[in-house]
Subunit: 146 residues, 2 copies
DNA sequence: CCGCAATTTCCCACTTTCTCCCACAAGTGT
DNA sequence: ACACTTGTGGGAGAAAGTGGGAAATTGCGG
């Protein structure tokens, strides 16, 4: 169960340190990175990626239009990345661009996976969807109990 | 399982380098290239091509109109291509035209096959289908859980 | 049937990028 | 204060990506 919000710097070589709190939660030193929904990247432990991508591919032959879209947007950009000795991953150029990563990145632990945002992009996202968030909270109110 | 998104240049002789990450996933040095759906080319390892083309032919006698269409659009343009020492393939003139390839090409790994796009064509495709992608993602919400 | 031109194939060489490794600064706990 | 962990930067060597020339093949006209 990965949680926590961290801010680390992407260096000139495109390396990003995975916070040690998160590293402690994963086994092995390989992760899968891909484009997420909204302007961010998703980082999965390989076994969770397999589950997700299989169900995406399963729902979907390349002969239907929406399936191709999902495959191209989610599956295609996915790449295995390895943690180096210092616990960093290399973020491929194309993914940096896709998520608009500059220097300061946010790393969000969302239980089974991790999101990577550019700090500025994330701020923009939060403030522009504040209203929608309030609505969503109201709607869920009935469903969620604890 | 081939994945990853790469951008390489098609040179004046019509050669395109297959990224080494992808080369590492295929055995042998022969691939099958053909026209794909939407404005792109598909590249298969020979064994997957056999599976696909067999099932296309099987599903479809030449006496139905739609079957002939599929066969002419997908099967007919297919050609075997060989990787040279540097890991490049030669893309036949007719296929370059079909996919509108200029110089900068995108190479998308979609698990069992590879798509080749002209960079500009792909950008156009993505932005024009952004809305549909959002819909498709919402629909998946119900199906995919992990 | 032969020779020349155009195209393709093969190979080599250069440049850029990536990868691996090491070093250092700052912060934390003992 | 000292050892240790965490976060950051950079240099050297290796590999990936790119371009171009020479040899081989094809096709065409004489």
């Amino acid at each position: 169960m990965i949680t926590g919000q961290f801010q680390n710097a992407l260096d000139d070589k495109g390396r990003l340190l995975i916070p040690s709190r998160i590293r402690g939660e994963i086994t092995g030193n390989v992760l899968v990175i891909t484009r997420g929904l909204d302007r961010c990247l998703w980082l999965f432990p390989p076994e969770h990626w397999r589950t997700l991508s299989d169900s995406l591919m399963g729902a979907a032959s390349p002969f239907t239009r929406k399936a191709r879209l999902l495959q191209r947007r989610i599956i295609a950009p996915a790449q295995e990345v390895e943690l180096d000795k210092a616990g960093r991953i290399n973020i491929p150029q194309s993914l940096q661009v896709a998520a608009g990563l500059q220097r300061d990145c946010l790393i969000l632990g969302i239980k089974k996976y991790v999101e990577i945002w550019d700090v500025a992009e994330y701020d923009a996202y939060l403030s522009e969807s504040e209203e929608e968030f309030q609505e969503a909270a109201e709607e869920l109110g009935g469903l969620v109990s604890f």
